[in-house]
């Protein structure tokens, strides 16, 4: 028997029972489509996060108070002490390192900002003039925070585009005095609109000098310090230098955590990849269900077509050939189902991309390949039993059945 004839016979058989074929293809297509869409979503989420981090610059190092590792016991543990605060002086000490290009100390709080009777609650970020460059943001009006001694609490602020629109409407904002908490600040600039960034809307922020933020929120500490390394190749060196500078300032105790942007990125990458794999796996279960359906339908086909099988035997069909014919039918069925599922998945993906343009939802190639391979493999595996049953039929009883 020629391969092309086997496929043709399978095709004719499938066409002979259109509703059965359609249902099977649908079951298979939903399975494959689900894998394609869900992995595309997972992959989209991963790429979204990775892109957002990458836009922050990859030679970023972050210092925050406290040790994230718990190897051994920290000195203060028995006394119930919390780790030492990060201070502005710690931050400034870091600029002495050759490996550090610039730093931005960070303190964050929330306060009421008001102007001419209009007010709103906004996140307030205290930082320095370097923050703009480190976060790779732009100013549309006026200037950013002035350079100068970070210890002086200059009463100026830079506001996000949404804050400007809500407080000033169409009035010019630069040069006006606003009230933040219980202090007055002069607006010196407006941030370019950037929208959502890692779930944080920069358009709704207000940025003030770090010393102003500290007195506004009545604290001496910093939330974290952002450091831009001079070169990407020296990230490890930079990390070590930062750690040793802080350790020296904190009486020999390393009570801060220094992470690179890359490390954070890698963690997110791993977590989201695992997530994609998990949802893909769950979707693959539906492929298994489709496989069992195929087996069921093929078993019914064998009993429906008993006479035909008897006839094939009578006209010289060997058991091996009968097996092959039924096997081919299941494989063609699942291949069509897989192709339809791929179409369905890609169409669904196109809809998602239309609805959520920010999500770069593209099904990963490995997931598509795995879904199609699983579909065909289930078709193959679950058709073995029906095909064998067909081949074993006794031709005399098969033919005599009416």
């Amino acid at each position: 028997m020629k391969a092309v004839d086997v496929l043709r016979f399978a095709w004719v058989s499938l066409r002979g029972y259109p509703s059965r074929t359609l249902l099977m293809v649908l079951a298979m297509a939903i399975g494959v489509g689900a894998v394609v869409i869900l992995t595309a979503l997972g992959e989209g989420a991963r790429r979204y996060v990775v892109d957002q981090f990458a836009s922050l610059g990859t030679n970023l190092v972050i210092v925050f108070p406290g040790r994230s590792e718990t190897a051994g016991m920290a000195g203060g543990m028995f006394l119930g002490q919390t780790p030492r605060d990060l201070t502005l002086d710690d931050a400034l000490a870091l600029t002495r390192s050759r490996a550090v290009r610039r730093i931005a100390p960070l303190q964050v709080g929330s306060a009421l900002i008001s102007y001419a009777g209009r007010s709103r609650e906004t996140p307030v970020i205290g930082s320095t003039s370097e923050w703009l460059a480190i976060r790779k943001m732009q100013i549309v009006q006026g200037t950013f925070l002035p350079a100068g001694d970070p210890r002086s609490a200059t009463p100026v602020c830079v506001i996000g585009a949404t804050v400007r629109d809500e407080l000033f409407g169409s009035e010019p904002a630069v040069g006006r005095l606003v009230r933040i908490g219980d202090r007055r600040f002069r607006v010196v600039g407006v941030l370019a609109s950037q929208g959502q960034h890692l779930g944080f809307n920069t358009d709704e922020m207000v940025i003030v000098p770090v010393a102003s933020a500290q007195s506004l929120f009545n604290t001496n500490s910093l939330l974290r310090i952002l450091i831009e390394a001079r070169s990407r190749d020296e990230l490890d060196l930079t990390k070590r230098e930062i750690a040793s500078i802080i350790q020296a300032r904190h009486e020999g105790e390393l009570d801060v955590t220094v992470v690179t942007q890359d490390a954070v990125l890698a963690t997110f990458d791993r977590v989201l990849r695992a997530l994609t794999l998990a949802v893909g796996g769950i979707a693959a279960i539906s492929l298994g269900v489709a496989g069992i359906l195929i087996m069921n339908v093929m078993l019914i086909a064998v009993s429906q077509r008993t006479r035909e099988i008897g006839l094939l035997k009578a006209v010289g069909g060997a058991p091996r050939q009968i097996r092959l014919l039924f096997f081919a039918e299941a494989v063609v069925l699942s291949a069509i189902g897989a192709a339809a599922g791929l179409g369905l998945g890609l169409a669904g993906n196109a809809v998602i991309v239309r609805l959520y343009p920010v999500l770069p939802a593209v099904p990963p190639v490995w997931a598509v390949a795995a879904a199609i391979a699983t579909a065909i493999a289930t078709g193959v595996v679950f058709s073995i039993l029906p095909a064998r049953r067909a081949a074993r039929l006794d031709p005399v009883t098969a033919l005599s059945r009416r």
């Binding site: 035909e308 009578a314 006209v315 010289g316 060997a318 033919l399």
Partner: protein
Amino acid sequence: MIELTGISRVFQVGDQAVHALREVTLTVEDGEYVSLMGPSGSGKSTLLNIVGLLDRATSGAYRLAGQDVTALSDEEQARVRRERIGFVFQFFHLVPRMTAQENIELPMMLAGRPAEERHARARELLRSYGLAERAHHRPEQLSGGQRQRVAIARATVMQPGLLLADEPTGNLDRSSGKEVVEILEALHEQGMTLIVVTHDPELGGRAHRRVRLVDGSVAEDLRGP
């Protein structure tokens, strides 16, 4: 040449053994025209199935053209059926999804013959059986007589030496039955060995050799017109 020696066939029905054939010994020369007759349950269809290698005898020896075919594996028996034996059934047994031409080509497809050869041979047969117009019709679009002619074309497409017909006219009206008998006899004229199982004494009487089975044994074996 068909040589059956001491062929028995026992079916197990529940805990009872039913002897469909008892020690049948029969020799059919190449080119003979034999009818197998007898009452229902006399074992004539079972004998035809054993001759056609659709069934295996419980005991006894069967030599086809000098070869002991009882010892062959299923795959080898399928090959013998494909190349040497043609079957015609009472209920035609055409594949409903396939056209007349595709049904006729089926044995050649199983034999792995190229498509052009199959098409040419099937069209030749369709023409000679007056079915040229019906090549692309499905079985349900054909009359009973036409279906049986398609079935005969399928049985002979591989040019077998042996043609076995099980009640070939049993499901046909008189005139289509007559046509079918004429075709079968013409094939016999061309040299095929023809064995017909029938109830119909008129059809059975046309054969040159008439074998009557009763209770699984040969009761009568008449030759000559």
